[in-house]
């Protein structure tokens, strides 16, 4: 039972009590995972989890975010709801003492985790935001119902070169009386002949003029944060905030390197997805997120050193494109004989270290412009190809997000580049918030992909 395994929620119940009896030390948010299912997170009953204490801590950290936000509010802290940019605004907000930031966008997993038992989607429907929009529409229902997170003291949202779903939903939210500080993320373009260019994280580049523009936009965000807290967000605070974010990103980078390359696979796809999600806003507690990811990395290092893993050695390495609305699909990939060997969940700029050797706001502007969403799909495809090579992918899954304005065009661009450059088999699937009805079809497509990849090797 102590060897690495993937276990059900029921198995975790037994294991948890044994670990406790053996002296398991937990933070305040610890406890058996089953309690979350009892409070409505029913999807947990369908998942298979890593059986290690660090994974238990990861899940408990994830599933207690709402409590953490309410605690921060009760302690007199300010809460910032950052929307859409997935990483940058949160780093700025966390740089101020007594400020907690989170992405309401994360509510898109609520219909999955709670198996649509919340009414969030029904509220969105009633507000004219129906299922033709991306599942992030659950965020609208969450705001209106006052559920899943406290109402933020400040809402900031990046628009411009973003998906229309989110822009429309955020505007609908604004029309309902939730003031939003909008800031512009322009479409990232290549520098023209004779135009100064600046290197961005992730191997990208942009015209210096665009970086200057984004920097001015981030000045607006900075001013909003300063007004909220009545405190100056100076470069020293921002630099420290960036250093903390980079500490997390370095740990996550090492975790990804080991988990995606070691044979046998030391950590399953589900936990890796959750670990990567922490990069966006540290699950509302930056210091604790660093501890959580650090412990997970220690466990993966230990397993790697011992040659232990959670999957069969011949599991086929699969690179995954786009986040899944239903976490269950990560399990299905492994049940079909695959293993995650890399991911591009639309926030790769939140995984890359923020430049620390330049002015903080300049560094953050460069990071914001490295967002895969604001650039051409071919830039995104280039990175996917690079990462496929780096992690030794044998196949690629492009997971479409239902209703998302970007998936219809970018999927072909990504798939074509992967096939042409790497000659890897690719498959597209669409994952709704609860995939049970679609699971047979998804499974068939993934099995065909794995089979094809095996034949090639």
């Amino acid at each position: 039972m102590n060897s690495p395994h993937q276990i059900s929620l029921d198995d975790w119940e037994i294991r948890y009590h044994r670990l406790k009896a053996g002296g398991l030390n937990e933070p305040w948010y610890g406890g058996p995972l089953s309690r979350h299912a009892g409070r409505g997170d029913k999807r947990l009953l369908s998942l298979r989890f890593d059986n290690s204490p660090p994974a238990l801590r990861l899940w408990n950290f994830l599933l207690t975010e709402e409590e953490r936000l309410h605690q921060a509010r009760a302690a007199g802290g300010k809460i910032v709801g950052a929307m859409k940019d997935l990483g940058t605004a949160a780093v700025m907000a966390f740089s101020l003492p007594n400020v907690t930031a989170f992405y309401p966008d994360g509510a898109w997993w609520v219909p999955c985790i709670m198996e649509q038992g919340t009414g969030d989607l029904e509220v969105a429907d009633a507000l004219g935001i129906d299922e033709s929009f991306c599942p992030v529409r659950a965020m609208l229902g969450a705001f209106v119902r006052g559920a899943h997170f406290p109402r933020p003291d400040l809402l900031v949202c990046s628009v411009g070169a973003t998906c229309d779903d989110f822009s429309a939903i955020a505007q609908r939210l604004s029309s309902l009386g939730y003031p939003i500080l909008w800031w512009e993320a322009p479409h990232r373009r290549r520098a023209e002949a004779g135009e100064a260019a600046v290197d961005l994280p992730g191997g990208l580049a942009a015209p210096a003029a665009q970086v200057r523009f984004v920097r001015r936009q981030l000045e607006l965000v900075r001013a909003g944060l300063e007004e909220l807290t009545d405190r100056k967000l100076d470069d020293a605070l921002l630099a420290e905030g960036i250093a903390q974010a980079n500490q997390f990103r370095r740990l996550l980078g090492e975790l990804r390197r080991l988990a995606y390359t070691r044979v046998p696979c030391p950590l399953g796809a589900l936990e890796m997805l959750v670990a990567e999600m922490l990069a966006i806003h540290f699950c509302s507690d930056r210091a604790e997120a660093i501890v959580v990811i650090g412990q997970l990395l220690d466990e993966v290092r230990r397993r790697s050193a011992l040659g232990l893993g959670v999957l069969d050695e011949c599991a086929v390495p699969v690179f995954w494109v786009n986040p899944v609305a239903d976490l269950k699909v990560m399990n299905i990939l492994e049940e079909c004989g695959g293993r995650l060997c890399g991911s591009e969940f639309l926030f790769s700029h939140a995984l890359d270290e923020i430049p620390a050797d330049i002015e903080p706001l300049e560094a953050l502007a460069r990071t914001a412009l490295a967002d895969p969403m604001v650039g051409p799909a071919s830039d995104r495809a280039e990175r996917i190809c690079r990462e496929c090579r780096r992690f030794g992918a044998k196949a690629v899954v492009i997971s479409r997000i239902p209703g998302a304005s970007h998936c219809a065009t970018e999927s072909d661009i990504i798939a074509d580049m992967v096939r042409n450059r790497l000659d890897l088999p690719t498959v597209e699937i669409e994952v709704p918030p609860i995939c049970d009805a679609d699971a047979p079809g998804i499974r068939t497509r993934l099995e065909a992909l794995i089979e094809s990849a095996r034949q090639r090797t």
Binding site: S132, A161, I180, H187
Partner: protein, 354 residues
């Protein structure tokens, strides 16, 4: 004739050399013309659903298909200008760029509009566009040339607006496209085209149920639904679609234009045109609130392309802006074309009549 519905001819490549093709009303045609080039506003023909994937906007898809077709129905454009005003069109630009030999310019039109930096970005993009046009064979506008052109376009727009009550909604849309496809030498001819169109519209029925239409872009073939409104006894008193008066630029300040024409272009286009992609979208909200109330319309028809999130999100909000019944018409969601939309419009007008 580049048309698949009854009416007069839309601008055709047969009439022009190598045009500079653009789609968005946020691209000033006078800026293209000032570079000695022929602007050509592209309104795609009826959306072809073949090859279109679920989630794709039929209008953006058809625009991209028109621009990448072989042989090129647009006459091998000297340049193509697309904008970042919606995610689908922004992404279509990448596809067009990869599949056509014509140079493609993706113009960043900021969604935000209240900050100096956002307004500055639009002005910078106009300047960048100017350099691009010169690179594509255009010339640098001479001193005073742009201001003079702006005045000529302004006169044409004033004439078009004055004629609007005498024109069917479809004819207005066609003329608006034609104006956006005029170079400096064609503006006099455009004034004659307005007169001709007014002369031929004498048969336009008086009376009818006054309706406002609101929404995004409409392909040429889909403009049949404007005819359907009028055939069913409706009368379009406000066209707040992309093919209507909503997307006309603000009136020119000629004195200011002679001092700083580019700043005027920014004011007329970027500062003034209300649209669903802008954040916040209070320009559009205020426009609709004012114009719906002032139009005397008895009902509103929201016309949107399937998968267009920006206009879809307006479906419910429209009802809150005015006490009028709203009909939600979705284009491009069925192979039957506009048949279903036509039937719904007929029913809507019938209900309003009673």
């Amino acid at each position: 004739m580049n048309i698949d519905a009854p009416g007069r001819a839309w601008p055709s490549v047969n009439d022009m050399g190598q045009p500079v093709v653009y789609v968005s009303p946020f691209v000033p045609p006078e800026w293209i013309a000032a570079h000695g080039m022929q602007p050509r506003r592209l309104v795609p023909r009826a959306p072809a659903m073949r090859g279109m994937r679920e989630g794709q906007c039929p209008f953006a898809w058809q625009a991209a298909a028109s621009l990448t077709a072989t042989p090129q129905p647009l006459g091998n454009p000297a340049a193509i200008i697309l904008t970042s005003t919606c995610d689908q069109m922004r992404r279509a630009a990448e596809i067009v760029q990869a599949r056509t030999p014509s140079p493609v310019f993706l113009m960043n039109v900021p969604a935000t509009w209240r900050s100096d930096s956002a307004r500055g970005l639009y002005a910078d993009e106009l300047a960048r566009l100017g350099l691009f046009l010169q690179h594509c064979g255009g010339r640098q506008p001479g001193q005073g040339e742009l201001a003079a052109l702006m005045l000529a376009y302004e006169r044409a727009r004033i004439a078009l607006k004055a004629a609007q009550p005498m024109l069917s909604a479809r004819e207005f849309a066609r003329l608006l496209c034609e104006l956006g496809s005029c170079d400096a030498g064609q503006l006099d001819g455009f004034q004659r085209a307005i007169s001709d169109a007014c002369g031929q519209q004498g048969q336009r029925a008086a009376g009818g149920i006054d309706l406002a239409i609101v929404g995004g872009p409409i392909a040429q073939g889909e403009l049949a639904i404007l005819d359907a409104i009028e055939l069913a006894g409706g009368k379009v008193v406000l066209n707040a679609c992309e093919s209507g008066q909503r997307c006309l630029p603000a009136p020119l300040d000629a004195q200011a234009a002679s001092a700083d024409p580019l700043a005027q272009l920014r004011r007329m286009y970027f500062d003034s045109i209300p649209d669903a992609f802008r954040r916040p979208d209070s320009l559009l909200e205020n426009y609709l609130r004012t114009h719906l109330a002032g139009s005397g319309a008895r009902g509103v028809v929201l016309i949107r392309q399937v998968w267009c999130d920006l206009w879809h999100a307006w479906t419910q909000r429209l009802g809150g802006l005015c006490p009028l019944p709203v009909l939600d018409v979705v284009l491009g969601d069925s192979p039957e074309g506009t048949t279903s939309a036509t039937n719904r419009i007929q029913s809507f007008i019938e209900i309003l009549r009673r």
